[in-house]
């Protein structure tokens, strides 16, 4: 064995413990410390609005840009409602954690009002989108509207905020 290859072999042997210790490391979510524990939005996964555009087979030049603008406008309108919904979820969550079940109906009612407001925003946006559709595109409208459910809210697979668990 030549001298250089012997050196490399020794280097390889010296690295074996590093490899083994890497394999024994605890299995983690693979997400960063600034994560929520909810998965990141996959770079490969299209945004819900884009999925809807695909489903409706909208014309890239004539229809899709208008739909994107429309969704952006609706998203702006929806932002304060989404915030309200998040706050109400937090209230519900805190009541559940404190086992104050008797106080939950009031929070549920408030949530209902906010969720109705959000659904109205989705419905208004969809009414405008539907009006743009050609007859052959309307066949997929029901599926496209199903994709709009919660489109203006933060969902586990759509975004992040806070930190993931694990640390105390």
């Amino acid at each position: 064995m030549s001298k250089p290859s012997l050196t490399a072999l020794l280097a390889a042997i010296a690295l074996i413990p590093i490899v083994l210790s890497a394999q024994n490391a605890p299995i983690q979510s693979g997400m960063g410390n600034d994560d929520t524990g909810a998965p990141k939005l996959s770079l490969d996964e299209p945004l819900p609005g884009e999925k809807m555009i695909d489903r409706l087979k909208l014309d890239d030049k004539a229809q899709a840009p208008d739909v994107r603008l429309l969704l952006m406008d609706a998203s702006r309108d929806a932002a304060p409602v989404a915030q309200k919904i998040l706050e109400l979820r937090l209230r519900l969550g805190n009541l559940a954690l404190q086992n104050k079940v008797d106080e939950m109906p009031a929070a549920t009612e408030a949530y209902s009002a906010a969720a109705t407001e959000m659904a109205a925003i989705e419905a208004r946006a969809f009414t405008k989108i539907y009006a743009m559709l050609k007859p052959n595109q309307q066949a997929n409208a029901a599926q496209a509207f199903a994709m709009m459910a919660g489109i203006f809210q933060l969902a586990p697979g759509r975004g992040r905020g806070g930190q993931r668990g694990g640390g105390q």
Binding site: L15, L92, Y111, S112, T116, A146
Partner: protein, 167 residues
Amino acid sequence: MRVSLACLAGTMIVITMAATPRAQRRGGGGGGMPQGQFGGFQLTRLEILTADFQLTKDQKKAVKALLDDAHKSAAATRETLISAHAAIGAAIAANKGQAEIDAAVKQYGQLAAAMATLEMKALGQLVQQLDVPQRGNQAAVRSAFLLMRGIFLDAKKWDAVPDSRSY
């Protein structure tokens, strides 16, 4: 020198290959790489809860059982929620009057609230399974709070990789 570099390169390849299976099990993209890159897969809800709270075997079993039950109990709410959302779309497509659309929207809002309440109650039950130090892990509790959104939307199972479905 050329031989040494070749051996070193070979060693690095071996290290990379040896480390790959573990990196893939970490839910994709260990080492700060974005998920989905290199085909890494993501963790399911139960796997995330287990890792975040460091659940014992018994706790994991208890959490699974309670969320299985909650998932079953949520079936009726889930079905009516999805139907109510479809009814809004159908009303718009059928060019129904605003009053009818508003009624459908209101019904959907009530069902969305009912679903959110079920999710939060399940969170409360889940936390009751934990020890005091685990409950004090605020980051894990926050993570669980976020994981609960839409947990019962899939008719088949709740223990899946969270996706973009919402309500």
